[in-house]
Amino acid sequence: MANIIMFCILAVVILGSAVMCVTTKRIMRAATFLLFVLFGIAGIYFLLDYTFLGAAQISVYAGGITMLYIFAIQLVSKRTLQGLVERLKGSRVVVGALATLAGLVTVVAVLLKNQFINAALGTSDTEVPMEQIGKALVGSGKYEYVLPFEFISLFLLACIVGGIMMARKEEEK
């Protein structure tokens, strides 16, 4: 029962903030509501006992991505992003509704076909130990992910170097 109550609270927070995020006209408010959506999702991970994923969600999305958005907002002029309003045309609403429906059908079909729900109900609520996660991240055996891990770290390094190269001002010679 406690799980269901917590899930309902989180769902209300996530859905309410998500709607507010796209309907508000002020860009900083949109960023704030986005932050609340991300917190809500982290809460759902904690509800599922995925504490590592929850912590990663808070630190990467709340601490990293949202701060990045806020800094980006600060770097452009105050007037360009204020009061942006988009008028929706009828055809775009239809296309959007169709895309949503297609997404829903895909998710439901995958869920029903693969029996994820039954498998999830079968396992008990236990935290995955940190040691197992760590070994899976940098191990090279079966179901271990050292290649993606190294690839992503190399990719991020390239991004950082590229960012510095773009931001750096050449001295006048």
């Binding site: 900083m28 408010r29 504490t51 912590a55 990663a56 709340a62 601490g63 701060m67 806020i70």
Partner: protein, 357 residues
């Protein structure tokens, strides 16, 4: 050694068996009790820390500090709180009021969140996830958002400049803070707070005695923790000579009170983490002599933890009232050009130490 789980299991038994409550109600009542405990501890520590800061600051400046309210001025903090509570709350003109009101709560949530991870005693840690250390760094990053929103919601250019500085400084120093904690995780082999303290119980088992690299990590942790709490020589976010009072200029009453509380409690959280991770937390001083160790073990762990934490708090206050304030470029240079490369090197040395010794 005193084990606090006697008390917790007594309460649990009382609710479950004596009163015959179900799982749901038991856990709900226990959660409420624990939450109340955390908030009371938070408030009490804030009172102690604010009074301590005033007195320590006074003695370092050859003054005697507050003396009028109560004997030796011990009721000064209560008078301050009363004054803060009866201040007029005002709304800022042409500002984003939602952000203005939400920001103090984000800061205080980050502060209480990290506070509840501290291991007080054996069997007395509130949140004890197996990703504990990682979770602490994650939650502390919420505070950055709160500070930034406060600056933006104040509709005041000094506040925005201050919030920018505060956010840049905190994001930068989180880097070396995290690297210090990773060194500790490598040496103890766990991320769980209780596990880290357990690994340090016994004669000469505190982390700073276990490896020379841990000493460097401890010192860097103190520096970057000080910067993370926006204090000491790094308090340029509220450089009063140039930015009036920084990002909380426009707050009055408890809005300002929350920032004030969070600042002191962040100081305590940093000190508590330093003492838990590097100085053994509630682990008593053991030197290998049976008689001495036995006497030390009789002292409950919470006194050891508070004693060590307040020692670190005192050192950080000493630093704050001794060193002059740094400029923003000096702060960032210190982090990115000296501390972070140093910590990367220390990280490699620590792994080598663990692999070889």
């Amino acid at each position: 050694m005193f084990d606090f789980s006697i008390v917790t299991s007594f309460v649990d038994n009382l609710l479950r068996q004596t009163l015959g409550l179900g799982d749901f109600w038991t856990i709900l009542i226990e959660c409420v009790l624990v939450g109340l405990g955390i908030l009371v501890g938070y408030a009490l520590l804030a009172i102690v820390l604010i009074f301590m800061e005033r007195k320590v600051c006074a003695y370092f400046q050859c003054r005697i500090g507050p003396m009028r309210v109560g004997p030796w001025g011990i009721f000064q903090v209560f008078a301050d709180v009363l004054k803060m509570l009866i201040k007029e709350i005002f709304a800022i003109d042409k500002a984003d009021l939602l952000l203005y009101y939400v920001a103090p709560f984000l800061v205080i949530i980050a502060s209480v969140g990290t506070f509840s991870f501290l291991p007080w005693n054996k069997g007395m840690s509130v949140l004890d996830f197996n990703v504990g250390i990682f979770m602490i760094t994650a939650i502390s990053s919420i505070g950055v958002v709160g500070i930034f929103m406060a600056g933006w919601g104040s509709n005041n250019k000094y506040s925005v400049v201050s919030a920018m500085r505060g956010a840049v400084q905190m994001i930068s120093y989180e880097m070396s803070l995290g690297l210090c904690l990773i060194c500790a995780v490598i040496l103890t082999g766990t991320m769980q707070m209780s596990g880290i303290v357990d690994a340090q119980t016994g004669p000469w088992k505190w982390l700073i005695f276990q490896s020379p690299t841990a000493i460097i990590a401890f010192l860097v942790f103190l520096v970057s923790g000080n910067a993370e709490a926006n204090r000491g020589p790094f308090d340029l976010a509220e450089a009063e000579s140039e930015l009036t009072a920084g990002y909380h200029t426009e707050y009055s009453g408890m809005g300002f009170g929350f920032y004030y509380l969070a600042e002191y409690l962040n100081l305590f959280v940093i000190s508590g983490l330093a003492s838990a991770v590097f100085l053994g937390g509630w682990a008593p001083v053991n030197i290998g002599l049976d008689a001495f160790d036995h006497v030390m073990n009789l002292i409950p762990g919470i006194f050891w933890f508070l004693g060590k934490s307040f020692l670190v708090v005192w050192i950080l206050m000493w630093v704050r009232w001794t060193f002059p304030r740094l400029r923003i470029d000096q702060i960032l240079k210190l982090e990115w050009k000296y501390l972070m490369p140093l910590m990367l090197l220390v990280l490699i040395l620590t792994t080598a130490w663990v692999a070889l010794v």
